[in-house]
């Protein structure tokens, strides 16, 4: 323990609030009283508990003496060492032998020893350092006791946090010993993130030394992260294997499309639907481990593999749809629940009020099944081959005005003229998707509303008040750890993935990558610097998520003129608003260059 830490403890114990001047005496008498309880509760540990208790008292007596009259430095070091050994022995006692309720009376004795030892050390040699020592699992409970002594109002929270962390370690150990279901591992990951957040909140309210508490939490986070990463890798490997077989089956049918039967196609579709479950688990866990395994380059590579797997799944599905249409078994418009199928049997759950089938998630940490919302209804329809788009500019300019506007420096006017003259082609489905947006109610739900739009397009949301649905989805995202005063980039699209929608996620990519995705015609959720869309003047970027619903591209030079967007945050609702490419580029490059593509 460093001198700084010891002195900090001295100051903090010494600086007890008024009216608690006898804190030291009350700690000693409480420990003595507890010893009797300990011996009754755990007879087999009575001898050891008594030795620990007596050991602390002896160390305290010696530390007091050295704090009054300077002792040789080795003698003070020896007292500190004795205290540490006693801490380790206290830690090894059975819970009923060391805790009265949640209080650790012997550790409070140790706090007194540490405080007096610091004074003794300073007296012996003001420049001396205590011998180095680091054992957070032993020190963390002691630091919680220090919080309880100094901040009674925060005591329950601190103890609860330590208990939660201990449970995390125990649950992680159980999952390491015997593989536990993915749903349980995900709950552990959410709990681990929550514990980190609770620690942050606690540490800002206390001025005591809390690093050991942070360390045990971090160890739990990393442990759960490794568990999740292993599961993610295993699921991804299984997914890749399954995809290889699926694609081989699709290729075999494509070789002789004339003889492919409906049953064969449906069998492959059902197999693809099963693989979506693996994809969903791999995708969610790869996102979560980014925070849990810091510095692990493997997590970035995992996302690339997940994206590649998603692409293959989407490709297999599209090829099967084409086969089905070619054989006349039902074209793209006839896609229905059977095409995706069920991933797990449905349970009679309440559906969270969102009109969806909930699938039981098996046993969970809290013993209540976690609802898993799986896409049972539809797969994205391909965009129309010749889509409509809302007007770029209102009005009805004459032919000569259009010819003049083709050379206009105003890119909106130019794009509008080129389109009216038939010199462009539209990608995506800007008009069809324009109705998917509403003005967001909360300031930080842009990504939620964008995902809400996708779910509406896939008919995965019931008809209803969009603002209420926005709030429900925000609450769902919060419970899943995907939303906290906004949506972190890694979790954009995660509400969709949870429902078995195939989504690829990209970050820090050039505009050309986004452009290629937009031209594929699907719905895109992109992070942008909204200053360039709203015209708001601020020296720093305004982070915002929008849905790109389509693009306008020059018919002969193939240059992108701009994108159509649904923007839930602009003062005038952006429903199919056209943004010229130069303007969009500024918005795109002003922020994280992140997007999620719905396949």
């Amino acid at each position: 323990m460093t001198r700084f830490r010891l002195l900090a403890l001295v100051l903090l114990i010494g600086a007890a609030p008024p009216g608690t001047a006898s804190t030291g005496d009350s700690i000693v008498s409480a420990a003595k009283a507890f010893l009797k309880t300990s011996c009754v509760a755990a007879k087999q540990s009575c001898v050891e508990a008594t030795a620990i208790h007596d050991g602390y008292l002896a160390a305290l007596k010696d530390a007091d003496a050295c704090a009054e009259k300077a002792c040789p430095l080795p003698a003070v070091h020896a007292i500190i060492e004795r205290d540490r050994e006693l801490d380790a022995r206290e830690h090894a006692l059975p819970p009923e032998a060391r805790a009265a309720g949640s209080t650790r009376p012997f550790l409070r004795l140790s706090l007194l020893v540490v405080g007096r030892s610091a004074a003794a050390l300073a007296l012996a040699d003001p420049k001396a350092e205590a011998p180095a020592y680091w054992n957070p699992s032993v020190e963390a409970p002691k630091m919680v006791e220090l919080i309880c002594v100094k901040y009674a109002a925060l005591c329950a929270g601190a103890r609860g946090l330590l208990r939660e962390t201990s449970d995390l370690h125990a649950d992680a150990a159980a999952c390491e010993k015997e593989p536990c279901r993915f749903a349980v591992q995900e709950e552990l990951a959410i709990a681990a993130e929550r514990a980190s957040g609770d620690y942050m909140a606690l540490s800002t309210k206390v001025d005591t030394y809390t690093l050991p508490i942070f360390s045990v939490i971090n160890q739990a986070v990393e442990r759960v992260g490794k568990l999740l990463a292993r599961t993610s890798a295993a699921k991804l490997a299984e997914l890749e294997k399954g995809e290889a077989a699926l694609l081989a089956g699709v290729a075999a049918l494509e070789k002789n499309p004339g003889v492919a039967s409906a049953a064969q196609i449906e069998a492959l579709n059902a197999r693809g639907a099963q693989l979506i479950g693996l994809y969903r688990d791999a995708s969610n866990s790869s996102d979560r481990t980014q925070n849990m395994l810091i510095g692990d380059a493997g997590t970035a590579r995992m996302r690339e593999r997940v994206n590649a797997a998603a692409g293959r799944l989407a490709s297999a599905r599209a090829r099967l749809m084409a086969l089905k249409a070619a054989r006349g078994f039902g074209g793209p418009d006839a896609t229905d629940a059977a095409a995706v199928g069920t991933i797990r049997p449905a349970s009679a759950s309440s559906g969270a009020g969102l009109g969806l089938t909930l699938v039981g998630g098996g046993e969970s940490r809290s013993q209540a099944p976690r609802p898993v919302l799986i896409d049972r209804r539809s797969i994205p329809k391909p965009p129309p081959t010749d889509p409509n788009a809302p007007p770029i500019l209102e009005g009805d300019p004459g032919y000569l005005d259009l010819l003049r506007n083709v050379r206009s420096k105003d890119s909106l006017r130019k794009a509008d003229a080129l389109r009216r003259l038939g010199l462009t082609k539209t990608f995506g489905d800007p008009s069809g998707r324009a109705g998917l947006v509403h003005t967001q109610r909360a300031p930080d739900t842009c990504a939620i509303v964008a995902q809400q739009g996708v779910l509406m397009a896939l008919k995965l949301l019931p008809l209803g008040d969009p603002v209420k649905l926005e709030a429900q989805l925000a609450e769902e995202a919060r419970s899943r750890g995907f939303y906290r005063e906004g949506t972190p980039d890694a979790y954009t699209g995660s509400l969709l993935v949870d429902r078995g929608v195939i989504v690829t996620k990209h970050n820090d990519v050039p505009l050309s990558t986004l452009d290629a995705a937009v031209r594929r015609g699907g719905m895109i959720i992109a992070s942008v610097d909204a200053r360039h869309l709203w015209g708001d003047k601020a020296p720093k970027a305004l982070g915002h998520a929008i849905m790109i619903t389509g693009a306008e591209v020059g018919r002969f030079n193939d240059e992108t003129l701009g994108y159509y967007i649904n923007d839930s945050g602009s003062l005038v609702l952006g429903a199919g608003r056209f943004v010229p490419i130069e303007q969009f580029k500024k918005a795109w490059e002003g922020l994280t260059k992140t997007f999620a593509e719905v396949h």
Partner: protein, 195 residues
């Protein structure tokens, strides 16, 4: 006609100063919230502050805080006090990241830029990022930076104060106390809160 053309040529306006290309620091700052641990902790709706260099940890890193925004009843933008912070390297590696607890807290409106265009604002921000990157090299050198270096630090401090929100002054100081202490010793000044 020749005279007219000549006159026109003499009266020709100088082209505007080119907008600086984004410096490495500016590019790294923009994407930090989507990298590493920040990708799951920092909402995309939070803006990154200007990055400030620090030598905490023994090597040069840059530190930013993140803050959200909302619309007031009159539809003006309202920014928040810092809600998260991160450290990262110039090549974009996130060293640490955390979301700060507590509800968003609005800060007073900074009306200094109402007369500027967005292009002017972004251009000035780009220049400031480039300056921070250059000053960071002086800071990390650990050597006496001489009078020229001190003049640069002084100029940087003025530019920083001109662009950074005064309501975030304390947060900027807390981000990198080692850097601001160095800046103050070398002719500059730490950000001061609004009066």
């Amino acid at each position: 006609m020749l005279i007219l053309f000549t006159t026109a040529a003499c009266g020709r306006q100088e082209p505007p100063a080119p907008v600086p290309a984004s410096s490495a620091l500016e590019q790294a700052s923009r994407v930090v919230s989507a990298k590493g641990a920040c990708a799951t902790l920092i909402p995309q709706e939070w803006s990154p502050s200007f990055a400030v260099p620090s030598m905490t940890g023994g090597s040069l890193r840059f530190r930013v805080f993140f803050f959200g925004y909302a619309r007031a009843a009159d539809r003006s933008l309202v920014f928040h006090a810092p809600q998260g912070e991160a450290s990262f390297t110039l090549d974009g590696r996130v060293l640490e990241c955390r979301a700060l607890p507590g509800a968003p807290r609005a800060i007073p409106r900074d009306a200094r830029f109402d007369s500027l265009t967005l292009e002017e604002l972004t251009s000035r921000a780009s220049r400031l990022h480039a300056d921070v990157e250059a000053i960071a090299t002086l800071f990390a050198s650990g050597r006496d930076i001489g009078e020229t270096g001190r003049a640069r630090v002084a100029a940087f401090s003025r530019d920083f104060a001109a662009l950074a929100d005064p309501s975030h002054a304390a947060a900027y100081r807390a981000l990198a106390p080692d850097f601001w202490a160095w800046a103050e010793k070398n002719g500059g000044a730490a950000p001061a809160p609004a009066k």
